[in-house]
């Protein structure tokens, strides 16, 4: 059901430059629309806004550390596969150290 609804939206957005440029879908708040956004959004926003995710620029190792910290210190339940890899892939690619989707202007 979820997939039936979502994939046409993602497909449409991929070929809609204005929307791709904005990089956001209200459904996933501030997060960049790409494979993995749905798993990432719903896992993270169980406790906090996706806005804090969208501000980060971390290496893959640091994202893994961050998720470990969420489980060990912050009460998050462990994310099971395949979602775990999907989420780490998404975060590392779109919220890496080069900050391709940093939401605020840098001064």
């Amino acid at each position: 059901m979820k997939i039936n609804i979502l994939w046409p939206i993602l497909f449409a957005m991929t070929f809609t430059p204005a929307v791709v440029g904005a990089g956001e879908d209200p459904e996933f708040g501030a997060l960049f629309i790409a494979p993995g956004v749905e798993e990432t959004f719903y896992t993270c926003t169980a406790c906090h806004s996706e806005r804090i995710v969208a501000q980060q620029g971390l290496s893959r190792d640091k994202w893994v550390d961050m998720l470990d910290w969420m489980v060990e210190e912050q009460g998050m339940q462990e994310i099971e596969e395949p979602d775990y890899t999907v989420i780490v892939d998404y975060l590392s690619e779109h919220y890496g150290v080069d900050r391709p989707n940093f939401p605020a202007p840098m001064n």
Binding site: T45, S49, Q55, G75, V97, N107
Partner: protein, 431 residues
């Protein structure tokens, strides 16, 4: 985010026909469903967003029950012009040009929350407990504080330890503050020292532990979102207040109403909001965000990106010398002559000089710098500037404190992105 008047009727109508079916469709909720399955669905997040927080007892909510607090409040209600960094927990900073006032208005004081704000901030029902290694543990209402201790009003600078984090490269995790997680409002309250002396500080006390009424983001009632403290010597200084008024009015709910600590010149995380308890300890506090790498920096200079063992991190105490240009605004168009002005501060110290440059740091000119109105307040400075010709300029400001420490050009990089006190630059077009 603004209140959406249309949400409740829409959802209500949707729920009226067949509540359980609507609940399944709208929130994905099934009564007595498997919790893991439930948490993975959009429904809990949607409902949490709609009521403005986590729902710790969501498992007990019957399917078909519409949350009573469906109307989401505006998280920046009562604030003016702040940049929202995060809406759960709420974190917002003030653009530098909106910090131009000598005393920061309540509406322009930044917000740094670690958890979910308390539901009940009734000043009449609030109590503060003083316990731990004291001769006489106390439980005090705000009326007790006013009655038993001298009430003082002071202008006090609060700055988030992570202010300026956004400029770190490699990036450091956390809210990406630029310049505006700082403010200097007038706080009215009683001295922490007076209250601790009344309780009787025992000779083995070395540290305080502060507790607030906010909730952990996970909804776990056994977790604290933030519980920090300070060495007892800092707690006993004259300008650390237990405050119940901000700029002569009530505290803003996001700034810790109805009672908070104000610890000027130290990371503002030590200035516990929604303050309920201060415990005196015979060891360094180990509460939330006291340990690990939180509010800590390496014990030695390191290269950007360098890995540092957790045991090599030390707790941040005073905040470093820093200044802001609050006029003109970055990007302003301005005439051939203008006043430039702003504030300067240095934790537990005073600022001796602020200089400005309009030629990318090649030459510097002095500014007129006021003394602090009281210890712990920032100092205001101004200078009249003439530009040699039309064009693009940057106004740079650098402060030097009374120990000779000056703001640096480059960031002293640290893994968690604290203490960025590099010079503030404001670009202007002159014609």
């Amino acid at each position: 985010m603004t209140p959406k008047d249309t949400d409740a009727p829409h959802v209500g109508g949707f729920f009226a026909d067949d509540p359980e079916a609507a609940d399944r469709a709208f929130f994905g909720r099934v009564t007595h469903g498997d919790r893991r399955g439930f948490l993975r669905k959009a429904g809990l997040a949607t409902m949490g967003a709609m009521v403005g927080g986590v729902i710790p007892f969501h498992r007990n909510m019957p399917a078909g029950l519409i949350p009573a607090a469906l109307a989401q409040e505006n998280v920046l209600m009562g604030k003016d012009g702040l940049t929202l960094l995060n809406d759960r927990p709420v974190n917002a900073e003030t653009p530098p040009h909106l910090l131009d006032d000598a005393i920061t208005p309540t509406a322009r004081h930044f917000i740094r929350n670690n958890g979910i704000v308390p539901d009940d901030m009734d000043p009449a029902a609030w109590t503060l407990t003083i316990d731990g290694f004291v001769d006489t543990p106390m439980e005090l209402t705000i009326a007790d504080l006013r009655e038993r201790f001298e009430v003082v009003t002071m202008a006090l600078t609060l700055e988030c330890g992570g202010n300026g984090r956004s400029a770190f490269d490699p990036p450091a995790s956390g809210n990406q503050w630029t310049y505006g997680a700082v403010g200097c409002s007038e706080w009215t309250g009683v001295r922490l020292r007076d209250v601790l002396e009344a309780a009787g500080v025992q000779s083995n006390v070395i540290y305080t532990a502060h507790y607030g009424a906010d909730y952990h983001l996970s909804g776990d009632p056994d977790k604290q979102p933030l519980s920090r403290g300070v060495p007892i010597a800092k707690a006993m200084t004259d300008n650390v207040l237990i405050a119940f008024e901000m700029n002569g009015g009530p505290l803003h709910p996001m700034n810790g109403a109805p009672l908070r600590l104000v610890v000027p010149g130290w990371p503002a995380s030590t200035a516990q909001k929604w303050l309920t308890r201060i415990q005196l300890r015979d060891q360094v506090h180990d509460g939330a965000k006291m340990t690990g790498t939180s509010y800590r920096v390496p014990n030695r200079p390191i290269a950007p990106g360098e890995e540092v063992a957790t045991e090599d991190f030390v707790i941040i105490e005073r905040m470093p010398v820093k200044s802001l240009v609050t006029f003109p605004a970055n990007g302003a168009e301005i005439g051939m002559e203008t006043e430039v002005r702003g504030h300067a501060w240095s934790g537990d110290r005073s600022v001796d000089a602020v200089e400005v440059s309009i030629d990318f740091g090649a030459t510097w000119q002095p500014t007129d710098l006021d003394p602090a109105v009281n210890e712990g307040a920032w100092q205001n400075w101004r200078a009249d500037i003439s530009f040699p010709q039309a064009g693009y300029y940057e106004v740079w400001a650098r402060a030097t404190d009374n120990t000779g420490e000056m703001q640096p050009h480059a960031i002293d990089w640290n893994p968690k992105g604290y203490l960025n006190n590099t010079m503030h630059r404001v670009g202007i077009r002159v014609s």
